[in-house]
Amino acid sequence: MFPTPIAKTGPLTRRFYMISLPVALILWLLPLIAVLLTSVRSAGDINAGNYWGWPTQWNLVENYTAIFTSSPIGQYLFNSFKITVPTVIASVGLSCLAGFALGTYRFKANLFVFFVFIAGNFVPFQILMVPVRDLTLKLGLYDTVTGLVLFHTAFQTGFCTLFMRNFIKALPFELIEAARVDGASEFVIFRRIVLPLMRPAIAALAVLIFTFVWNDYFWAQVLVQGDSAMPVTGGLKSLNGLYVASWHLVSAGSIVAALPPVAMFFLMQKHFIAGLTLGATKG
């Protein structure tokens, strides 16, 4: 077996592993630890250059309350949800349907359509920056949540469809044929046979897209100007004062902003099930 399980290696290797693992872990997590620590410091600590030392003052409650009172971060968070949740539902939903069609039916343009979906992923979005901004302006969607939702959905569906199509293609096709002979219409096959088996894929994709869209900063900057539609990623900078950088507040805001994707992961975790199709075929 490769790699050899640590438990089976020599004592020297094992000791080295035991020591280097925590070191690597701490190094890896250092930026996050720094942000966590900074988020509970006082402004004085930062001004005094105490970036890595023990905080002189624990401002946990003060800092985390301050971000909500001194800035519209509540509004930003709410905007983020308003952008992310519909995008996840729309792109995962659409890609389930598109993936089912591309994965199940043999038609002439099948591969071509599939390639179009894939090709969309290769377009660097910086190229789209100006045309998309102009488009949203013309459609009256500039600086709106709807504009962001539409754009994100359009952009994420390509990847989602690639993912879903391949997942459905890997399901035993006899299941679909069996259902057809059993008398199921194509929609019933999708709804009753394919969709239940796609649960792990849907969960994985939902987490992924949620994180992508939630963490988006670029399009928030391009398509949004005011506070009304600004998601939390773009809104964090408002925690800095006009003349002073309040890194402790920005850090606290960042932590709050990072929590929903983590929560989403744990929420969806129970749906990541391997071997859902076990028993369908002879096995």
Binding site: E174, A178, G183, A184, G275, G279, A280
Partner: protein, 369 residues
Amino acid sequence: MAAISLKKLNKSFGPLTVVHDIDLEIGDKEFLILVGPSGCGKSTTLRMIAGLEEITSGELWIGDEMVNDVPSKDRDIAMVFQNYALYPHMTVYKNMAFGLHLRRAPKEETDAKVRETAKILDIEHLLNRKPKALSGGQRQRVALGRAMVRDPAVFLLDEPLSNLDAKLRGTMRAEISKLHKRLDATFIYVTHDQVEAMTMADRIVVMRGGHILQVDTPQNLYDRPINMFVAGFIGAPQMNMLEVTVKRSGDGWVGLFDGLELPLPLGEKADRLIPYEGRTVVLGLRPENLHEAMPVGVAPEATATLEAQVELAEPMGAEVHLNILAGGHSMIARVSPRCKARDGDRVSLIADLGSPHLFDKETEQSILY
């Protein structure tokens, strides 16, 4: 009524034609088996009947309706797949009830039907399990049950037993035969196993390369194969094929083989050999027609004695298969377990040529069919 007729049925995948001009009449309530080597088009033919493959050209009639463009779900058929294709997220009960549920059958009726079928198949105790908690044989039964509850006019079975172990296959073979009698439906069954074909079928269709070679009852197929392929395919161990030179002898014919004159008693078909006089033909000899002693009830003038060397003796329990070498030909003889011949021994075997199979060497067609 669920007689099925296939008229000049063709199936092509792009430039590749896998089923050529199949004509076949399947009677109502018949048990018809399609056999042939892999890639012969038997499964494709079945799938066309099921509506899972589009028909490239030709007509498919079920009853008195042409169903070329009728989707599977409206064809009144049920199918059992080689890999069972059970819905893995549903319990056995739901797997079986799915078809009825889709037809909006009343709940009580569905329930009664599922339980009755489960009882017949002896899977009542499994109704609440999911397919992954079942053994191969149990899954097979559930797949059968799912087809049965629908009470279709036609059952299509695509190598349903090929994933089971030998013992279970034997049991299930009998079960399916019983089921056919009980259900009063037309069965079309695909297999590459000639034992299944011989034991279960009313009629067998032998296919090769997308063509039907012969359609007949199992016994007729065995006794009167139309060509060398069918002769070799039906029957295990395979028929022995010897090249003999045809010669007149008195008012009959003999075949010259390894310096021996093998009698060819053809009765009224003797004329058929006239064009072959002096030429080489292939003589088919079933392994059970080679005996270690003169068999009872066989006319001695229709036999010949072959001197052979035993290359390998395979004891099967009820019989012994002798792999022998005679006149440079490898052959197999099925003899009784009393035969004491061992590897390397020389034996004399009596060939019973009472009803010989003769094939044209070039066309491989039977001369006597």
